[in-house]
Symmetry: C2
Subunit: 253 residues, 2 copies
């Protein structure tokens, strides 16, 4: 299996020289900061947060950002790319618990036991910003808006999972897939991408795992949705999503 990303700062670094790495890890210069942890922070706070991001790491498709059982040291913000998180049962079963896009924070479940509870794996070549958590906590004590952002991200993750639980616990297969597609459409839209056309970065099996379904069921549903004119699907590309019809199917009134 792929090795986890290390969040080691280069050993020696002259304090007064602005290195390329420094330039590359600045939230204050980052184009996606308004959909990431720094959202809404003022210039002063941003400057301080720049000091927390120790690295911006490239994670290749299939490689792990971290693995379940790894010591928890940092949170990871997705700057570019897509990741999945997978929870593990003690008997080896594993299930995809999240499909994370640009601006999402990874590793929040690791704080409680100082150990990551799931794998986080890149679904395409990805770049993550590494934020050592003790340093982040320290800064959060000094900067109230940052503290509140952190709390909001933690809380949002709880809400996200509750939503998923509702889906897994009380929706039928077709409603789950419709809700999944709508959720993606929404998140792509919020990030400025087309909401009725995108490339799924997951296999049918991964989508099934996320939705609590078997890959054959997912495949059949895509075929049926296609036949019913709810979308076009060709391999992993979906397009021409009929969002209102999908909403009806998902039971979203």
């Amino acid at each position: 299996m792929a090795h986890s990303v290390q969040n080691v700062r280069p050993a020696m670094q002259a304090a007064t020289v602005i290195s390329i790495r420094d330039l590359q890890t600045r939230c204050s210069r980052c184009g996606i900061r308004e959909m990431c942890l720094p959202v809404g922070l003022d210039a002063d706070a941003l400057r301080k947060l720049d000091g927390v991001v120790t690295a911006r790491t490239r994670v290749r498709k299939g490689q792990a950002v971290y693995r379940a059982g790894d010591a928890f040291t940092a949170l990871y913000a997705i700057r570019l790319g897509t990741c999945k998180t997978m929870v593990l049962a003690s008997d080896g079963r594993e299930q995809i618990s999240g499909y994370h896009l640009v601006g999402d924070l990874l590793g929040l479940d690791g704080i409680a036991h100082e150990r990551h509870e799931c794998h986080a794996v890149a679904l395409e070549d990805t770049e993550v910003c590494v934020m050592p958590f003790d340093h982040l906590e320290e800064l959060a004590r000094a900067v109230a808006p940052l503290q509140h952002n952190l709390h909001r991200f933690l809380s949002r993750e709880i809400g996200r999972e509750q939503h998923l639980m509702l889906m897994l616990g009380s929706m039928r297969a077709e409603a789950r897939l419709a809700a999944f597609l709508l959720n993606l459409a929404d998140r792509y839209r919020m990030r400025g991408y087309a909401s009725t056309e995108f490339v799924l970065r997951m296999t049918r099996e991964e989508i099934g795992s996320y939705l609590g379904l078997k890959l054959e069921t997912v495949s059949r549903l895509f075929s049926r949705f296609h036949a019913e004119g709810l979308l076009q699907v060709h391999a992993r590309t979906v397009s021409k999503l009929d969002l209102p019809a999908l909403r009806t199917l998902a039971g979203i009134c």
Copy 2:
């Protein structure tokens, strides 16, 4: 429907007089503080936290601590009793997302949007401590161990929900019920109660809702577990749980 609990501090209160309310809301004197937010805090920090708890409120069986849509102002710690949390779908479906015991924190999902996303309802007469969140954040900035505890509770909730998702997404009905009973047994044991005998505070329908099953399925499973000697069940009292056998059934190796 029952009204939500108000967390209003009595309007006027002489600063130097220790009122009965003050005495009643002190974490520093609370018997369950080591399984609640103050876990591990030193005397000084405890004293400061005393000032955050504005009230200790009685919530009668069936009454709501808060309801979905209520403005989020505070977290609630269960001092006595049991609560369920229920998430709501836009089409009116509702699902139980949590079964909360003494020492658990309620309201964590409300931080993100400053609005509670679920109902929290007492399953028996219950007492909750009200902790206004802005005040708690303020204190967390001053007291690092409290800050870390808050982060751990938030993170633990994320982990708890991931566990539940795994259950809803990839376990069969019998394994879900076994895992549910084992989880309860564990949590009662941690709180110093018997782990092989307890009273369920939920109806079959509520258990089913929590596990993504219909009430008839839950009832049949209880009957079958009883017939197979895995437990004794009489109405809501379960006893003589065969924990190892339940573990096998739940797929916990």
